[in-house]
Amino acid sequence: MARPRLAVFKFASCDGCQLTLLDCEDELLAIGEKVDIVHFLEASDRAESGPYDIALVEGSITTAHDAERIQEVRRQTKFLVTIGACATSGGIQALRNWGDHADFLRAVYASPQYIDSLATSTAIAEHVPVDFELRGCPIDKRQLIEVIRSLATGRRPRTPSHSVCLDCKLRGNVCITVAQGVPCLGPVTQSGCGAICPAYDRGCYGCFGPAAQPNVVSLTTQFQRAGTAVPELVRGLRLFNAAAPEFRRESDRLDSSVERQP
């Protein structure tokens, strides 16, 4: 059987998720034997055109040009996988979706008229059908290897959709919210990171985005009762997965509840 042709594409992002592939130090050479990496600009001069069997897409759509480019990637690709929070939910740059874009431009650039940039940062799935989403800011190395290995052998990747809370218990962490009263997004955040933050004495900040069917309202209500101010909760939800629907809805609800107060 011919090795599947794998391509890696970048849109607006920090390169961290692509780097995760290069960070598979022990497995990298073996991965190179399983799949034929035919387009991966960060790592190789080889930049072949499609069709591709697998495309790993990093980054969100923030320019008109990129909105067209993703259509072409989709046309060329059999199995399109988004890697990371930017590609899957718009990433940190989706914070512009709440701001005044013109104001943002002026704040950063002396001559904003030169810039081609959309007023929004959107997930890949809002533009083209996506076959599989790998979450995380950044993605997890083990999950990435699972995706490549499974697709190379023609099965669907298996990654869990339960919350960080369960991993935290499995890791043997003492619950940081119960024991120290620290707000933690673990109960509503998808598994994948290995519950790192609570293991390092801090609350989860939701970098893997919402878990399956999260009850975000219930969690923020609880934190409010325990004394966390609403603006702090809004900022906590508006980070690397700010535009993920469950986080976005709740941050908007909390935000408007502040505005309604006299």
Binding site: G16, L41, E42, A43, S44, R46
Partner: protein, 432 residues
């Protein structure tokens, strides 16, 4: 004689972080203009840092770059701590240096083996290089891996570490967590020396330019996470006065901001060569010994040889880290309390690819009112174009794709990090 115009374009640079292209305009067989095009979309970090609580900043700025998140975190926490009038303890300072060693090792090993060495081995990628040089590439991957493991122990994970807090760390590493790394770092120190010997044997083009080297310096250390900004042409500045001496400007052909020295209006060079030339005598003992052995001494003005300086910095980082790992005792406190209030502060550290400057102003409510970030690649961009202009006459007789390829080699020796997109724009070209 008619005006003969010719344009060479590299649509997408490979083996660099982020996205960029290159356009070379020739007229009558001479170089008319060189344009490093950065089409990485803007991501507005400085804009949306406003209104954020200072303690959220280290997590957010890490996302500017997946390859050097620690550099962003370190410059940010220093600037914010100064704004809040907080002094950290010597133990925290040492742990921060250790974390930074992990990033230098990881980033430099990546660049040397997977991005830069393929140029000298005449192949397309590190994976391809592993077919002809399996031992060297495997050694490089293992060198990189231990850097990542240090970042994981100290930072929680290698990309976007979670353990960096304003005032210190959320949790101090346990003695046994760091002790486990000692044998890895003993191997790494020797392996890094071997790597320097290997890259020193590469064939380097005979090419030198007269740079203004700018880097942090420190009286007792090879400056990494603190020091005074110094220039090889004279002058020294604290982080607080960076903006009095250096300025980001919009240039007509690129609109990507480029840094210049205000006094000369000229570009300058940051990164491993600048550090090596300004602080050679403060490299670790093994790094200096290795440099002597291969006959590599300052001043070095050949950009292609930056891979040797980078290699020596890996030796240095392994040796410094090893010393800290061996003597580590868990500190009684790993975090100084920070109460954000009205104030302004600057921070400058040495990212693997050069000086990284941050400035923050905090308002009366204790939130960030203004943020300014000057990444190394924006400082080096003018220098890259100058280098290319000087380099091109040597290769103009070659076919277009050879010229393009050799220019890419020049650019790659800078290890440009285009993802540090705070100041890079997508541009529509006004063609002359």
């Amino acid at each position: 004689m008619t005006d003969q115009k010719r344009t060479i374009r590299v649509e997408a640079l490979s083996r660099v972080e982020g996205e960029g292209g290159l356009t070379i305009h020739l007229r009558d067989g001479t170089v008319d203009a060189v344009e490093l095009r950065i089409y990485e979309p803007p991501r507005f970090f400085e804009a949306f840092l406003r209104g954020r609580a200072p303690e959220e900043v280290p997590d957010i700025v890490a996302r500017i770059c997946g390859i050097c998140p620690v550099a962003y975190q370190m410059s940010a926490v220093q600037a914010l701590e100064r704004a809040c009038g907080v002094e950290i303890t010597p133990e925290i300072r040492l742990l921060r240096k250790l974390l930074y060693c992990g990033e230098w090792i990881e980033s430099h090993s990546l660049h040397m083996h997977l991005l830069h060495a393929p140029d000298f081995l005449k192949c397309e990628s590190g994976l391809k290089a592993a077919e002809t040089h399996p031992d060297e590439i495997r050694r490089g991957l293992r060198l990189k891996k231990y850097g990542n493991e240090l970042l994981e122990v100290l930072g929680g994970r290698a990309i976007h570490p979670v353990n960096v807090a304003l005032g210190g760390f959320y949790r101090a590493p346990r003695s046994e967590e760091l002790a486990r790394l000692v044998p890895c770092f003993e191997w790494g120190l020797q392996a890094a020396i071997e790597t320097v010997r290997w890259v020193a044997g590469f064939s380097f083009p005979d090419f030198e330019t007269d740079y203004d080297f700018v880097a942090l310096t420190h009286p007792d250390e090879y400056a990494m996470n603190e020091g005074t900004i110094e220039s090889s042409r004279g002058g020294s500045w604290s982080a607080d006065t960076f903006e009095t001496a250096f300025e980001e400007r919009q240039v007509p052909h690129s609109t990507a901001l480029q840094c210049v020295r205000r006094s000369t209006n000229e570009s300058y060079l940051v990164g491993p060569l600048a550090r090596f030339n300004l602080s050679f005598d403060r490299l670790s003992e093994a790094a200096r010994r290795t440099a002597g052995e291969i006959g590599f001494a300052p001043p070095c003005r050949n950009p292609f040889r930056s891979i040797i300086a980078r290699g020596l910095e890996v030796v240095h980082a392994y040796e410094v880290a090893l010393t800290i790992l061996r003597s580590y005792r868990e500190p009684s406190g790993c975090r100084v309390e920070v109460r954000p209030g009205l104030g302004e502060g600057c921070g400058a550290t040495e990212a693997p690819r050069g000086l990284l400057y941050h400035r923050y102003r905090i308002d009366a409510a204790g939130l960030v009112a203004e943020a300014k970030i000057v990444p190394p690649t924006s400082q080096n961009q003018g220098g890259i174009e100058r280098d290319l202009t000087a380099w091109l006459p040597r290769v103009l007789h070659e076919p277009d794709d050879e010229i393009a390829h050799s220019c890419e080699r020049v650019i790659r020796s800078y290890d440009p990090c285009i993802s540090c997109a705070t100041h890079f724009l997508r541009v529509d070209w006004d063609r002359r």
